[in-house]
């Protein structure tokens, strides 16, 4: 059973703090993704990674960075959290190749106050 695990279900952080969201998958998937999910806006891709130490910007990378030091772990970093980054963050992973299923974590609800 594929597992994508996000380290926190709920987080509350202060404006200006550096925030780390962690995601771990146990299926040896090459590709990993970070999305934010907002009502009426759907899922928007922040960053994705197709290999260790590789990363590519998605549609909304501003204010975020990522780290992929190990294949199973993909971290999303908010360098200086702002209130407009309050959202649900979803991590996903896929194996390589066409038409592969994406497996999602349970989500992290981040509130920046």
């Amino acid at each position: 059973d594929v597992k994508v695990t996000q380290s926190s279900r709920y987080l509350v952080k202060r404006t200006g703090e550096k925030v780390f969201l962690e995601c771990v998958q146990d299926m040896d998937h090459e590709n990993m993704f970070w999305y934010r999910q907002d009502p009426g806006l759907g899922l928007r891709l922040i960053y994705f990674s197709y290999d260790v130490k590789m990363k590519e910007k998605g549609d909304i990378p501003e204010g975020y960075s990522v780290s992929r030091e190990k294949k199973e772990r993909f971290s999303l970093i908010l360098e200086s959290a702002s209130t407009n980054q309050t959202s649900m963050y979803l991590c996903a992973s896929t194996p390589p190749g066409a038409n592969t299923e994406a497996f999602f974590g349970q989500g992290t609800r981040l509130t920046v106050v």
Partner: protein, 111 residues
Amino acid sequence: AQRVTQPEKLLSVFKGAPVELKCNYSYSGSPELFWYVQYSRQRLQLLLRHISRESIKGFTADLNKGETSFHLKKPFAQEEDSAMYYCALTLYGGSQGNLIFGKGTKLSVKP
């Protein structure tokens, strides 16, 4: 640029009625399209993919390249179908593909 369009934010039908959730895409290559579903308090999960041409939970979706559409259909909706539905497209650029989602349609099936 919007690559996947789901025109309806909310779709409300009665139990037993047919349902169609619309999805249009813009992509110049050969598209790989999916429908994902998120039930209340559950993870987002794959419902079906166009390459499989399968029916899952009574849902089907046909890729129409001429109309660039991948609408999701079910002839008789059930209350348990109430959920958020996302259409998604795999884009290939650089070395690997990334998965792009539409804004989602909330389906509400009334008793």
